[in-house]
């Protein structure tokens, strides 16, 4: 990012993004291949190429719209956009970064609550057992979302098919894994 685009601050927003992800936002020339290939574009409020354009403007209001958008939470990191981008812009890494910024700035779109609840339930399972305990994950998710009926109908068949492990696998090093999680959260606002 050239200095001409900042306003006297040591690092602009796009400068920060470049430092944290290697993505140079201004490389995008709006060809639209990312949005054309994105499997979630039709459900997004702003398709990926529009997110790029909004960030290019450097306008704080646009940036705010992006951080409050559903797009960043619907992105599945399937990497199709990066694969097809003629400028090889790593949009999936940018999306990861924007999600983390949105969480930190407490700007998460209310409709993304369930998606984040799922991720948090997933991490809870790792914190307590060292691994993903699927039954625990679903119960934890239901507690967070009050979505009590989710997958109730399918559970008996899964049980018969041996797809539900009633007991978690507790690894020996689970305290070490919990400590790793703690150390990654040190000096960070908000907790996972």
């Amino acid at each position: 990012m050239s200095a001409s685009h900042d306003h006297g601050h040591p690092l602009t927003f796009s400068g920060e993004i470049r430092q944290e992800t290697g993505v140079i936002i201004n490389k995008c020339y709006q060809c639209g291949k990312c949005s054309a290939g994105c499997p979630l574009a039709e459900e997004m409020d702003y398709p990926p190429s529009l997110v790029m354009r909004m960030l290019q403007t450097g306008d704080e209001v646009n940036r705010d719209h992006v951080l409050k958008s559903m797009s960043i939470w619907l992105c599945l990191n399937c990497e199709m956009c990066l694969t097809r981008c003629p400028m090889e812009i790593d949009i999936p890494s940018l999306m990861d970064n924007l999600r983390q910024r949105s969480l930190k700035a407490k700007k998460v779109n209310p409709q993304a609550k369930k998606i984040i609840a799922f991720h948090q339930s997933f991490l809870d399972s790792i914190r307590y057992t060292g691994r993903l305990y699927e039954v625990g994950l679903v119960v934890d998710y239901k507690m967070r979302t009050f979505d009590l009926m989710q997958d109730v109908a399918i559970a008996p068949k899964m049980l018969i098919k041996g797809k539900l492990n009633p007991m978690p696998d507790l690894i020996k090093g689970r305290k070490k894994v919990a400590a790793i999680m703690r150390r990654t959260q040190k000096n960070k606002e908000g907790k996972l």
Partner: protein, 304 residues
């Protein structure tokens, strides 16, 4: 021959048939799979969506434990875990300062000396050249090989197969006597981790994949990822509702297809554990050759 194994959580939970079929296949070729001791979850989508350092630390611990055990080749049957481990290895190799930081978070020495293999690479490296000689039940079905996202992307990191029209799984199915179809949704996303939080989205994305395969007369779909499998198999009622059709095409793991071809029984391979029943009609050997010629297939259909 001893090869390291990182099964990941799905293979120990909802996808035990993948674990069992990989184990049976390895055993048939005299390969000893050694599970990395006390492995943890790779963090999957949850970790990299919410925290970058965590998303690198969890896979790094797994690889550090493998290094400590002296394991170099590590097979990772789950495409999502394979992706997380490979991306972590790549990022830590590129950035020594980051590697140091993650090592201190782990409180474990991480050197990055392991060699991460997905299931196809594992089979290619240790099994493929001995496979054909062992085939006793050619898998003579019209087969759609579905690779999904995480096995092939990002190409700059994984360097595995062609990114839009991969062939490696197709080649293995051909070795097993299969008749692979050419189709358009090989690497489209199934909806992955939104399975629980946005089931409708998954029904739409997976529905398009199932529909394209069936429209091109596939009798069976083959995958190499437990997440793809659970979306395409377990979410079939929602998929069928979205498509307003009743599609019963089964979805098998590549390890199950190869296992069947070399004569391992269906139960050992866990075929009875799928949610969409695996009802493959037995076909006389040689039938696949007739079916592979499109004119032949058309004639058969007209006769029917």
């Amino acid at each position: 021959m001893k090869i390291g194994l990182y099964p990941g959580c799905s293979l120990k939970g909802g996808s035990t048939e993948y674990q069992d079929s990989v184990a049976a296949l390895a055993k048939a070729f005299d390969i000893e799979l050694v599970e990395i001791p006390d492995w943890n979850c790779c963090g999957a989508t949850a970790a990299h969506n919410l925290d970058r350092e965590l998303s690198l630390s969890l896979p790094a611990r797994i690889m550090a434990l493998a290094e400590r055990e002296g394991l170099t080749d590590i097979v990772v049957p789950c495409a999502a875990c394979y992706n997380r481990l490979s991306v972590t290895k790549h990022e830590l190799a590129e950035d020594p300062a980051l590697r140091e930081k993650i090592s201190s978070i782990l409180n474990l020495k991480y050197e990055g000396t392991t060699h991460i293999l997905n299931i196809i690479q594992f089979i290619d490296k240790f099994i493929a050249d001995k496979l054909e000689a062992k085939v006793v039940n050619p898998f003579n079905y019209k087969t759609a090989c579905y690779y999904g996202c995480l096995l092939v992307r990002p190409h700059s990191v994984l360097q595995f197969d062609r990114v839009e029209d991969p062939q490696s799984m197709d080649n293995l199915v051909k070795l097993a006597g299969g008749n692979v179809i050419d189709w358009a949704f090989k690497t489209e996303c199934c909806g992955a981790g939104l399975s629980i939080s946005r089931t409708d989205t998954v029904a739409r994305l997976s529905g398009k994949i199932i529909k394209d395969a069936v429209d091109r007369e596939a009798e069976v779909m083959v995958v190499a990822c437990p997440m793809c499998h659970s979306n395409l198999d377990m979410r079939r009622p929602q998929i069928n509702k979205y498509l307003n059709e009743n599609i019963d095409m089964p979805v098998l793991y590549i390890s199950q297809v190869l296992g069947l071809a070399i004569g391992i029984d269906a139960k050992t391979l866990g075929l009875n554990r799928h949610m969409t029943a695996v009802n493959l009609k037995e076909k006389p050997i040689g039938d696949s050759l007739a079916a592979s010629q499109s004119t032949g297939a058309e004639t058969q259909k007209m006769e029917a």
